[in-house]
Amino acid sequence: MSYAPILITLLLHAEPVLAAGLLDSEVLERAEAEFEEGVRLRQARDQAQPHFRNAAGYFEELRQRGLANAALYRNLGNAYLLAGDLPGAILAYHRGLRLAPNDAGLRESLAEAREHVVYPASGDLGRPRSTERPPWLPHVGSGWLMLAAMVCYVLGCLGLTRWRMVLRERLLFTSLTALALAGVLSVWLILRASERRESETHPLVVIARDGVLLRRGNSTTFPPRYDTPVNRGVEGRLLFERGGWLQIELSGSELGWVPRDAVFVDAP
């Protein structure tokens, strides 16, 4: 699958900035200055939004240069959100969460951005599924998960060996518990790796404009699959690409084809 056109779309989507000859730190300074000017003018939306848009352009430039961290994506998402670019904000928050799943600020920002998405009044078309995960449950990083599994595995092996030496039942019980825990953690890790592979195969897409119809085929000659259009900010997964059209699957498993320029794709 070629992502070059999608990248071009993303680049065009960003505010063009003349930052080619600048160091990363200088681009960051400009971004921060634009953002702070926007904050200063926050009481006048028409005046503030161009500054936020410029700030988003500078942050996007840093992202294009390969910088990636939760703070950068939080700034980028906030700048897009304040500039009125809801799809860009949602995409940036998702990218940040992929790097830092435990970042509560990013998670809450994503939830608040989703509240601005206009979903159909009737039905759940495009509406994200509510997660049953309790908010207090931490999102353990995959690296930590793997480390914990390895520690449990090693402790289990050592415990079993020691039990073989001294034949203490408590040692046997503890060792088997550690090995069982290692197994559970390994299964968790495998599921997460599977999710990651799935997200790489079918990257995230965000509807970029209002009133996009999901069609039955890759052309306007095909009838809409649903009478209700979806609006900007609705999330889905890219399944297939053909002839300038993308087949996407929304959060509620609704399938349909949309024009390429109607969505932002979370391409690397």
Binding site: L67, A71, L82, L99, S109, G141, C157, T161, R164
Partner: protein
């Protein structure tokens, strides 16, 4: 001369007649003049007030006015913001007595007005500054900042004073009024967003290059799975080589009865010596019951010696077992003194050693 005579003869002939008719003639004229029908005069005036239909301009609204008028217009203020109202006043003054008064014109019928202004048409009566003047007030809102003037207003009326009927309908154009329309001052709307969105993350962390976690390669996973058990195996073999006695003990403890007995003996360390002696005896007796089918609950040293002899244990072990139970009896039933206390301390270790010795003779450990 003849003509003079003729005239004189005519005058003389008709004069008496004229004298007699003249008063009647005068009277008739007077009567005629006074006998004019008032109704007839009224209808003549009504005809004069009537406004003909023919000849009206079809593309301009008619004011319904009949008379002789002058029209002027003024606006206040002449500098306004777009989409804010200004007052436009049309003043119509009758030069001669009006036959019919002017009515309010609908400016929306005039394209030049409708295209450039939002027209509010309050249903107000015309103001009358004096008997001859009518003033009509409108509220106009410029639609755009490009609006430069209020255009001429065509005032159409009928002039009955002009005898040429075809020219009776007159159109007066007021002067255009220049105005200056300023951009509308926009209402400033604040950005609605959660407060956290206005907070900028700063510092060197923003310039970091992080990569998402990637699972290790299959070779690495295999190594991680194999290294711990192999290491533990090596540890175990090394341990057996370094501590053969401990290995032997561990092998012997693999008899479940022996293992349970040793664990039960280990758990007695916190008890007082008297209770520990009684329970130690019970544990060892229970062990012998499981291993050698001892049927007596509290065997004597002699009964233990017979049991061991029946199972072909070595005389040394038989004597050792008998001695153990003898010590147990002493520890349990004799009054406590220094020697007994020492015996109670050694009792625990002797019990374990006895059990391990029985296990050794029952299933000897192969020499490595």
């Amino acid at each position: 001369m003849n003509s003079d005579k003729t005239i004189s003869s005519i005058v003389r002939l008709f004069f008496p007649v004229l004298i007699r008719v003249y008063p009647w003639l005068i009277l008739s004229i007077l009567l005629c003049s006074f006998s004019l029908d008032p109704q007839a005069e009224g209808s003549e005036e009504g005809e004069a007030n009537e406004v003909p239909v023919v000849g009206r301009p079809v593309d301009l609204p008619f004011s319904e006015a009949s008379g002789w008028f002058e029209a002027q217009a003024r606006a206040e203020p002449t500098t306004v913001e777009a989409e804010t109202p200004l007052t436009f006043t049309v003043s119509v003054r009758a030069v001669r007595p009006a036959r019919r008064p002017p009515q309010r014109l609908d400016l929306r019928q005039l394209p030049e007005f409708a295209e450039q202004f939002y027209i509010e048409d309050p249903s107000e009566e015309a103001a009358r500054p004096d008997d001859r003047t009518w003033e009509f007030t409108y509220r106009l809102k410029p639609r755009r900042t490009e609006v430069r003037a209020i255009p001429s207003l065509p005032f159409v009326y009928f002039n009955p004073y002009l005898r040429t009927a075809s020219k009776g309908f007159q159109v007066l154009y007021t002067d255009p009024i220049p105005i200056h329309v300023l951009p509308h001052e926009k209402v400033q709307v604040p950005i609605q967003a959660p407060e956290r969105a206005f907070v900028l993350a700063t510092g060197p962390a923003v310039l970091e290059r992080q990569t998402p976690w990637t699972p290790p390669r299959p070779g690495s996973i295999l190594a991680m799975l194999l290294v711990p058990p192999l290491g533990c195996l090596a540890w175990y073999l090394l341990w057996r080589r370094l501590y053969p006695d401990a290995a032997r003990v561990a092998s012997q403890q693999r008899s479940s009865a022996a293992r349970r007995a040793v664990q039960a003996l280990d758990s007695l360390r916190r008890l007082d010596p008297q209770a520990r002696a009684a329970i130690t005896t019970s544990i060892v007796a229970n062990y012998l019951h499981q291993r050698l089918d001892l049927t007596i609950a509290e065997p004597t040293p002699h009964e233990i010696a017979l049991l061991f002899a029946q199972h072909d244990f070595s005389p040394t072990l038989t004597q050792r077992a008998s001695h153990f139970f003898d010590v147990c009896d002493r520890a349990r039933f004799l009054p406590a003194d220094g020697g007994t206390a020492v015996a109670q301390v050694e009792l625990h270790d002797s019990a374990i050693q006895l059990i391990l010795a029985v296990e050794e003779e029952t299933c000897p450990t192969p020499q490595s």
